[in-house]
């Protein structure tokens, strides 16, 4: 699986309350989550996420298990999230929704182009290629299928 996008830099320990606040959860209207994503961190960020590759510090997605966090990022147009580590529930949620996550220790330059190939195991930015920690075979299968819903539709 390949992709490319524009780097948006974020700090470590981004929690799911900050990705999408509790006050917006009670709905099934996904556009609401995309509109209010990161509102409490930076209200201007949502508008810059189309085609973005988020490059964050460690422990991205910590806290609540709310899947709306991963949905909000995907619906806002985020191509992938790169971080040295992810909180484990967010990790599963994002892959289950077909949003690529890449474990890599990358120095982020805001606005630079970031390209990746998860199958081949690399990410490239500022002319430098870095290796990534591979996803487990099952997670790769789920991601390639487009998410866990599609995975189970194909496997039952």
């Amino acid at each position: 699986m390949q992709g490319k996008g524009t780097a948006v830099c974020l700090p470590a320990d981004i929690d799911t309350d900050v990705i999408i606040a509790g006050r917006y959860l009670r709905t099934k209207d996904r556009s609401i989550w995309a509109t209010h994503v990161f509102e409490d961190l930076d209200p201007t960020l949502a508008a810059r996420l189309k085609g973005a590759v988020i490059v964050a510090g460690r422990n991205f997605g910590c806290g609540s298990s709310r899947e709306q966090a991963a949905i909000a990022l995907r619906e806002a147009g985020v191509v992938a999230v790169i971080a040295p580590s992810f909180a484990r529930i967010f990790f599963r949620n994002a892959i289950n929704l077909g949003l690529p996550l890449i474990e890599s220790d990358l120095t982020c330059t805001e606005g630079s182009t970031v390209a990746f190939d998860i199958s081949e195991g690399w990410v490239e930015t500022d002319g430098k290629r870095h290796t990534i920690r591979p996803l487990s075979p099952r997670m790769q299968e789920i991601l390639m299928a487009g998410g866990l819903v599609e995975y189970w539709r194909a496997h039952r």
Binding site: G22, N93, N96, R138, W152, R156
Partner: protein
Amino acid sequence: MSTLSERILGAAAGEYVDRKVDRAYAHDGTGVLALEAWKKMGGDRLGKETEYYLQFDHIAPANNSTTATLQHELRDFAHMTSMHFSDIGCGICHQLMSEGVVLPGEIVVGADSHSVTPGAFGAFATGVGATDMAGIWLTGETWFRVPESVGVNLTGKLSGAAEAKDLALNYVGRLGMDGATYQALEFIGEGAHHLSIDERLVLSNLSMEAGAKAGLFYADDVTVRYLKERGHAVLSQEPEDCSYRSEIDIDLADIVPLVAVPPRVDTVKPVDDLAGLSLDQVFVGTCTNGRYFDLARFARLVKGRKVAVRTIVVPASEEILKKAIRTGVLADLVEAGCTLGTPGCGPCLGYHMGVLGEGEVCLSTANRNFKNRMGVGGEIYLGSVATAAASALAGEITSPEAA
């Protein structure tokens, strides 16, 4: 020789396994998206051989017609599939699973991050998101990466005003918010045997705040007795020599009352350092500290006096509420000026009641103090029940040892 997680999952740390889930639970928050995903997966009946539970605790009772309609759909689904269903007022999912449901050695998955809580019984209990839960509804199984474990070696006994909550904040502060990511905590050592089930549930609950996949105690005589009173004959679990990825030692006698300073659970300071900070609200409850033990302790400390700041008390379950009525604890709380809420999560997540206003400060017995969690512009300090009582009486953060 294996860790408890390795023993229950039946494989060595680092291996990926597919396992049948013994008990799977979800709530009114995560259940909505899980139902949507399950339908899209083609779900028409639940996986066999797994016990399924749905508990309404996050917005209980419903706060508006949107929530009510979403809950209505979920309620119909629970009845249609005959899963165990606990409607509004029954209590918090993690507490209900801990009232004689989860047993030692089981694999338990909840669609909520604090599903690590029933690890206190020697079960492998962990949290997932909604789509993973939908997959478990479909098949009764899921995949796990068997975690490496951190040994949390406990010695001695808690003393003075210190509580299990202070002990939990101590280890979260030491490990950091991601200190145990992808790993399990195992609470071991003679100090563990001195802790009641209520206290163990606090320690297992907070393991999530260090990023852990699970937080386990070995079932011992205390566990066997607790479950026997609830109709289950179980055996204790003997620890084996095993290798931990890392170990931390805590002498319980060294624990002092602590507070976690917003917006991070791992920014932990002695209560004394924050003494005098003015409060707008005190909240006692949640899957961390809403058990009978906590309510009775709070009531004992405020009995015969009046709280100086608005104070919301929410029992974690109906069983706890009933006991608090029978023993007079509830009357003491109301006489002292506390406001009561329906058993459930209450104000913890800022959805529907007890929300903070701009610039307001709350001392809470919950487990999270993230930015804006209980309301935009509100700040949350986390502490023990005794700290909450001393602070409620003074209207400002106050050490229970000063009271």
